[in-house]
Symmetry: C2
DNA sequence: CTTGATTTTGAGAATTACTTTCATTTGATG
DNA sequence: CATCAAATGAAAGTAATTCTCAAAATCAAG
């Protein structure tokens, strides 16, 4: 809800404490504390075995507060603030650039950002995506939201109808590919170079393009 | 668990009562009763508002039994027996056929079958997919299983490694497209012709193909 | 058709995610 | 400091899901 007013810094995300009121900073701290506690507990106990009560205790807040910040347990682990980042990157792409290329750029840049800022979180999240079906499922939902957002932006840029089937399919295919690549990467223990995998994926997408 | 021994008839699925023991037939009847009761209740009360207890009562079984048949509430609504059907259709495709064409055929034929055998269920399910996020999420998971199954078959046919990234991406893209098209279809109140939508989707996928 | 083995079912208790409500605390502000 | 609005915690409630165990149904032999 309050996410809109924070212009996201492409560099460091959850550290963005500049110019926030005491209240806001406290909220941010709580949010981070909950997430940290969760990742810690999950790492030692596993996802299912970690109850919200434990998380609350570890983060030194009440269970109600946890639910206030993250309505669904899975959200704690997969809510990321990268949607607006991706949106920004996409908006900065030249209008004439082929759509596939724009999306590739967005994906690569976002991943690069995540790997730079919070690599551990990216690994942890990917691991969860591979291991916990409910998280994987929810992640797909998240990505489908991302997909809609990007489609919206591309619609503006190309003057298409954002609801147009073809555009939706195009974007969701690319995002779906990102999902698959990430899972593949995680399944094989992060041994491959993520960006090489993305390159291979792009080859498969080949000259997928929107025609008129 | 017992699903493997039933060679699925391409014509009528849940009616396949031939040569089953009393026990098996009874189980099948229970399964169908639960599903029917669920769809009925959902139609009048909505998905979230329908509790498993109500379902159990309506189907005249105990809640435990419901959970024994469908471990997760969502399963009642989205478990379908079409995976083996799709697999069979795919296996019958000529080895030389382009993969995309094979998959298109599988999709079109399966949908045709569903529309013929249980159109109401297809509509109901699609409606749920559009309206209930948790179902949509789970449906994606289901489709990803389907996707793996089909990839496996295609791997055998083409002599590829079933775990190969490119193959996985290819199949999951096509299945993901089916998902999107179905949602699109449902969002617009089933006004479009489903098969025309699929044709349009195939145009977007264009000459997506696996190269070596 | 009776008996004993096997399967399926139902009853009930326990866990846990999630919701809702309300009183209390805390930061923002004049 | 006094006041208002937002944030928190406490507590009770709902519903999904799991587990356990005993009763009932089916099956396979004799």
């Amino acid at each position: 809800m309050t996410r809109m007013d924070v212009t996201p810094n492409l560099r460091c995300l959850s550290e963005n404490r500049a110019g926030l009121s005491l209240r806001e900073r406290k909220k941010l701290r709580t949010r981070i504390a909950i997430r940290r506690a969760t990742y810690r507990l999950i790492a030692s106990e596993g996802y299912e075995a970690t109850t919200v009560e434990q998380i609350a205790e570890a983060a030194e807040v009440s269970p109600s507060t946890v639910f206030r910040y993250f309505p669904v347990k899975e959200d704690i682990v997969l809510t990321d603030e990268y949607d607006p980042v991706m949106a920004d990157i996409l908006r900065q792409r030249p209008a004439g650039e082929p759509i596939l290329e724009s999306l590739r750029f967005v994906i690569v840049e976002s991943l690069r950002g995540m790997l730079r800022d919070q690599p551990e979180e990216l690994y942890a999240r990917t691991r969860l995506m591979v291991e916990v079906p409910s998280i994987r499922a929810r992640m797909s939902e998240t990505m489908s939201t991302t997909s809609q957002l990007l489609a919206q932006i591309l619609a503006e840029r190309t003057g298409r109808d954002p609801a147009e089937l073809e555009l939706r399919l195009f974007v969701s295919t690319v995002i779906g590919t990102l999902r698959e690549v990430t899972i593949y990467w995680g399944e094989r223990g992060f041994e491959d170079d993520l960006f090489s995998l993305i390159d291979r994926a792009m080859v498969v997408l080949g000259d997928l393009d929107l025609r008129d």
